[in-house]
Every structure is written in structure tokens, then in C-alpha cells.
């Protein structure tokens, strides 16, 4: 057993343990049976002192909080039991761990997931030998074929028709009805985990913010939380409050944008015009108060960078009141618009039971009865004192995912007002001490889409030995494949948008 990591920010500490391959399966089964879930799964190569080999890392969430298990794997034949029967989300994570590190889940799906043709099947980018050349021939991907009279295949992407990230969707349809959807992602794999290893602990925060631009605050906070653990740094209170303010404003910006886009996807362009105006107002207010529309570099290890004046904060408070009135008016219009409700209600339904089985998380989860919200389940400063109200729906359709966004906007506005009213004075950053080499830290933040997780191991001289970010989209992409079944193809953009999952955050 490794000693407990104390999180100095008010959250219950992360538990760490080691297990062997046999114990791993039993531990996962016990966690799942008690209502816990898989947070992430990743692998790393052991180098340096001691025997060479590989480590599998499994992060779990149970009623106490975060529990990270390390499993030593054999150097010559690094294998471990397939966890996907217990945690379905493990399936793709396991395939990705093989693509990047070459550790294999026994009897798991062996198709590559993140690897297309940028590297060959026998090279592993996250190992310490450098990747030399790419394979000569592009290997075809074995999509599951659907047979039957009148079944057609519609391939969509990677380049999509709108202003959206790339990915491939393979539909099997009869007429307009979707029989099956299979996703193929990995098109925007940029080698982020490897890139972290080139950067210092301080520089890593900038990369973390750019894992998924729409979640820059969530990921940079999660990264900085981990960096602060390995340097034993406690940011000052004003920094914690400002971080939460930035996070809630990021939540607001994304929810406003999505509500407009969803209206547009249902043919109600008025909605897009109105919500995009409100989002623009919010971004301009960010620029005025914090110096940038998008807060990519606002969170740094030890604290934050921008320090808004009292006047700017008073203006933000006033703007929050105005925004609340505007959104309330638009909600009435949305709720009463028969044509749009006809599109929203019943489309892309994900039942509570299926969402639970698949481990769906974040806003999509909360629209299908999955209560998880780190701000309530495992809060850190300042959320410990804010009493965040959980938003929950059970219909699991597009209408429910719209309702969750509306409800969360009002809750976020309430939180912003409270944060502004109770903002501590004082410094906005503490200079981090040197990291303990080989120390590990874990950051975990309820971003707007769901919980963003960052596992970080420091190297010598404040370098990064290993950094594994986990975007909540990993949990929800498989659920989309289920949600579209039985819907018509023209409703796919609407259903996809109602989930609004990250491609870049997923592909790393």
C-alpha cells in the first residue's frame, strides 16, 4: 500500500493501492457492485531504477472518492484481464492503452482505436524508444457490417459539413431509420500525452488548457491541482474562488452556445441568434474583467493569472442578473414552441438503465438519471461551502439534455453571484515549490461536459514523467451509438449536438 496523498484543498484524499492482475478484476467487481465507477485507465512504461516493465493504472470512484490502483505488468508480455464486462467504457480505453503503450487486455477487442496510420502496429509512441517511420500501407478499419434486405451504409466524416471537429460515423440504415451507428475516432490525435513529457511542470498547464479548448478551464484546473499535489502547494483562497468563477463561466458559455445550436438544429434559427448574442456578451465580459474572451491561460500552478478589480466584479454580478432574465425569457419560448418540442421530445432517448450500465457521466448522465457531479460528490475549495444543487432528469431524450442545460445555467448564475459576493482578498498565486521526483498527483474537476481527470507523475528537475488526461467524452461517446438507434438520420445532428462530446479531448 502506498501512503495516502493528502489533498490540501479540502477534498477527501485520493487513495492509492497496488494490486496484481488477479486482484484487479475482483476489486473492480466489488467497486461496481457497490455502485462505483471507472474514472480512467491508462498505462506507462517503467524505466530507470528497478526492473523494466509496465504499469497499468486504474482510477475508480466509489462512495468515499477517488481510488487509483497500480498493477505491475510483465516486461515481456504485459497483459491484464479485460475489464469491459464490468465497466463497458474500459473497452476503448484498453484499445488505446495498447495503441500507445503496447499493454494488452486479454481477450479484449483487438482493433486499434487511436492508431490509424501515423504509426505501425508494432511501435508504441508512449514507450521510450522513439517512433521511427509510419507504416506504408493504410490498414482498413474493420467496421461491424449489418446484413439484411434494404440495409444501406452511410459513411459520414471525418470532415463534417458544419464548423465541427472531425470524426467518422458509419450508419447502417433502412430507409431513414438508423439500425446501427459505429463511431471511429482518433482523427485529431495530436500526441498530447507524449508532448507533456517534453514540457516542464509549469509549461504543462498551457498544454492542459488546449486538450479541449471548450474545457480549457476544467483541464487546466485539473492539471494544476495535480501539479500542486506533487509540489505540495496550496493556492491562496482568492485563487480558489476565481478558479471556480472561471469554471462556472465556462459552463455558462458552453450551455448558452449549445442551447442556441440545438434550436438551430431543430430548425429554429431564432434560438441560435438569441443565444449566440448572450454568449458573445459573456465572452466580452470575460475580456473586460479577465483580459481574454477564453480563459486558456488563466489558471497556473499555484493560483491564477488574472486579478479582476472590485469594479469589474460588481459589473459581472450585474450582468449575471441580466443574463438570468434573458435566459428565463428564452426558456419560456423554447418550452412553448410546439414545433421545436416535437423535435426534442423523444429524440435520441438514452434510458436510465442503459445510461447506468454504460457509465454515462456529466450533463448527458444527469439527463438520464445518473446523479454524478463532482461539485456535490467530492467537492474541493470553494465548492465545499457552496451547496451546489444537483440537476437531474430521467427522460434521457434531447429535451432532457436541453432541460439540464437550462437548469444548470440558473444554478451556475447563483454560484457566480455567491462567489463574487464572498470573494476573498489577498494574493492570487503561490509560487510552487520544486516537485518531488516520481511523486504523483491527481486532478479532478467537474467541467461543463463532465468530470475532467488528470493523472500526473513528476520527473527529475520539475519535468513531467507521465501525464494522462481523461476527458468525460470517453464515457459518453459509446452511449451516442445507442441513443440514435431507431431515430431518423436527419435527427442525428440534433442528437449528437445534445451530447456535444469532445473529439480533441477524447483523441489526445
Amino acid at each position: 500500500m502506498n501512503p495516502q496523498l493528502t489533498a490540501p484543498d479540502g477534498r477527501s484524499p485520493c487513495r492509492r493501492s497496488t494490486a496484481d492482475r488477479g486482484e484487479l478484476l475482483a476489486l473492480c467487481a466489488r467497486t461496481a457492485a457497490a455502485g462505483g465507477r471507472l474514472v480512467s485507465l491508462w498505462a506507462s512504461e517503467r524505466v530507470g531504477a528497478g526492473s523494466p516493465g509496465f504499469m497499468l493504472h486504474v482510477a475508480l470512484q466509489d462512495s468515499v472518492g477517488l481510488h487509483v490502483v497500480g498493477v505491475e505488468l510483465d516486461a515481456l508480455s504485459p497483459e491484464y484481464p479485460d475489464l469491459s464486462a464490468i465497466f463497458p467504457v474500459a473497452e476503448r480505453l484498453q484499445r488505446a492503452a495498447f495503441d500507445l503503450v503496447g499493454v494488452r487486455a486479454i481477450a479484449g477487442d483487438t482493433r486499434p482505436w487511436l492508431r490509424h496510420d501515423a504509426w505501425s502496429a508494432t511501435t508504441f509512441p508512449l514507450r521510450h524508444e522513439p517512433v521511427t517511420s509510419a507504416p506504408d500501407v493504410s490498414e482498413p478499419y474493420a467496421f461491424v457490417r449489418v446484413a439484411g434486405d434494404g440495409v444501406h451504409e452511410i459513411p459520414v466524416g471525418p470532415v463534417h459539413a458544419g464548423i465541427i471537429e472531425p470524426g467518422h460515423f458509419r450508419f447502417s440504415v433502412v430507409g431513414e431509420k438508423v439500425l446501427r451507428l459505429e463511431e471511429r475516432l482518433g482523427y485529431v490525435h495530436k500526441g498530447i500525452e507524449k508532448r507533456f513529457e517534453d514540457l516542464s511542470l509549469e509549461q504543462g498547464a498551457r498544454l492542459a488548457a488546449r486538450i479541449s479548448g471548450d474545457s480549457a478551464v476544467a483541464f487546466s484546473w485539473a492539471y494544476c491541482m495535480a501539479a500542486e499535489q506533487v509540489t505540495n502547494t496550496l493556492p491562496p483562497p482568492r485563487a480558489a474562488w476565481l478558479r471556480a468563477l472561471f469554471l462556472e463561466r465556462e459552463r455558462l458559455a458552453n450551455h448558452l452556445g449549445d442551447l442556441g445550436a440545438l434550436g438551430n438544429d431543430a430548425g429554429f434559427a431564432f434560438g441560435l441568434t438569441q443565444f449566440s448574442r448572450l454568449k458573445e456578451d459573456l465572452l466580452r465580459a470575460n475580456a473586460h474583467a479577465f483580459g481574454a474572451r477564453y480563459l486558456f491561460d488563466a489558471i497556473i500552478p499555484g493560483g491564477v493569472a488574472p486579478d479582476p478589480s472590485a469594479k469589474a466584479m460588481a459589473e459581472l454580478s450585474g450582468e449575471a442578473d441580466v443574463l438570468e432574465g434573458e435566459v428565463a425569457a428564452l426558456r419560456k419560448i423554447y418550452d412553448n414552441h410546439a414545433g421545436m418540442q416535437d423535435r426534442f421530445v423523444g429524440a435520441g432517448e438514452l434510458t436510465v438503465q442503459l445510461a447506468g450500465l454504460l457509465g454515462v457521466i456529466g450533463i448527458a448522465g444527469r439527463a438520464s438519471g445518473q446523479r454524478w457531479d463532482l461539485r456535490c460528490d467530492s467537492p474541493q475549495l470553494p465548492y465545499t461551502d457552496l451547496g451546489v444543487q444537483r440537476v437531474l432528469r430521467t427522460q434521457g431524450d434531447v429535451a432532457a439534455r436541453v432541460a439540464v442545460r437550462f437548469d444548470e445555467i440558473f444554478e451556475s448564475l447563483r454560484l457566480c453571484r455567491q462567489l463574487l459576493a464572498t470573494m476573498p482578498e489577498g494574493p492570487i498565486a503561490t509560487r510552487p515549490a520544486d516537485a518531488r521526483a516520481d511523486a504523483s498527483g491527481f486532478g479532478w474537476i467537474e467541467g461543463w461536459r463532465g468530470p475532467a481527470f488528470v493523472a500526473l507523475t513528476a520527473g527529475a528537475g520539475n519535468s513531467i514523467a507521465r501525464c494522462h488526461p481523461h476527458d468525460p467524452s470517453w464515457h459518453n461517446w459509446p452511449a451516442l451509438e445507442h441513443a440514435v438507434i431507431g431515430n431518423i438520420v436527419p435527427d442525428f445532428p440534433l442528437i449528437n449536438k445534445s451530447f456535444n462530446l469532445s473529439y480533441s479531448g477524447h483523441d489526445l
Partner: protein, 168 residues
């Protein structure tokens, strides 16, 4: 329906007024003139995400909000490269997107312009060149204009589009 009309009346027209001395005003007026001169019709843009973090996409979306009102300047986004005059490409170019980007470029008829967006589109940004990233958009297709920023503001994007249109 009444609520919708009331809301429209309440919000009013937001397209920003064009004071003669403002850079942004001159920009938009110049854009109109240049579009007419080079393309003789509205500019159609095909946006391609070749590997971005999705931050640049957020600011590109903002171009269509009522403040920037891109469509009011005669510019619209189209669904196919075959309908496009200009490719607006965010990067870095992931190696898994190289072929798709090349095919999109080839499918765009002449005359065409390419605008590479953001620090990543310009030089690979924080991702650089690696086993997974081919770096700048210009490493894969010819680029006429680069709009720097991380992400670039909608105004900077407008200036980049204008510069590309004028370059003809």
C-alpha cells in the same frame, strides 16, 4: 409566436454601427468592395478542422452571431468544398487528417484561397511536429493567409479572411 416577436422587438438589431473612424468599420466596408472585385459574388467558406483543440472553432462560430454578422457582409459557410471559394483551416494538422485535408483542398475549385487559423495552424502551436502532428497547415496544403492567436478573436478572423480575399 407572440413571445418570439416580443423577444425580437425587445432585443432589437445588434449589428454593430460602423463609425467611420473605426478599424472594424473600414474592415467591413473594404471587405464588401473586395469581395465584389475578386469573387463578383458572396464568399463561400468551407471550414476544416484538421486537428485543433476546438477553441478556434468556437471563435469561428462567433462570426455568425448577430454582432459580427458575417452573412451581412456577404460571407457564408458552406457544407461542401465543391461550393467553396475559401478554406478556413484550423490545426495543427493531425497526421490522421493529412489525407482528408488534401482531398478537401483538391475538391475546392479554383480560384480558391486558404486561411490557416491560430498558432497551431500557423506553426503547430504548442503541439509542434511529432509522430502524431504534421504541424502547420502550410506543411500540407498551400496557405495564403495565416491568422495568429490562441484562439484568434472573431475580428482577427475577419481581418484574415479579408486579407485572403484581397490577395487575389
Amino acid at each position: 409566436m407572440l413571445r418570439v416577436l416580443k423577444q425580437i422587438a425587445h432585443v432589437g438589431l445588434l449589428s454593430e454601427p460602423l463609425p467611420a473612424h473605426s478599424d472594424e468599420a473600414r474592415l467591413r466596408e473594404a471587405l464588401h468592395a473586395d469581395i465584389a472585385r475578386v469573387f463578383r459574388r458572396a464568399v463561400s467558406i468551407r471550414q476544416v478542422d484538421a486537428g485543433s483543440c476546438n477553441g478556434c472553432e468556437l471563435e469561428i462560430h462567433a462570426l455568425e452571431n448577430p454582432y459580427y454578422n458575417l452573412q451581412g457582409a456577404g460571407i457564408r459557410f458552406v457544407a461542401s468544398p465543391r461550393h467553396a471559394d475559401l478554406l478556413l483551416v484550423t490545426g495543427p494538422v493531425s497526421r490522421h487528417m493529412v489525407e482528408a485535408l488534401r482531398r478537401t483542398y483538391d475538391a475546392t475549385p479554383d480560384p480558391k484561397r486558404v486561411v490557416a487559423v491560430g498558432e497551431c495552424g500557423a506553426c503547430g502551436g504548442i503541439f509542434g511536429e511529432s509522430y502524431a502532428s504534421a504541424g502547420a497547415v502550410a506543411n500540407v496544403i498551400p496557405v495564403d493567409v495565416v491568422v495568429r492567436g490562441c484562439p484568434p478573436t472573431p475580428t482577427a478572423l475577419l481581418q484574415g479572411i479579408l486579407a485572403a480575399v484581397r490577395a487575389g
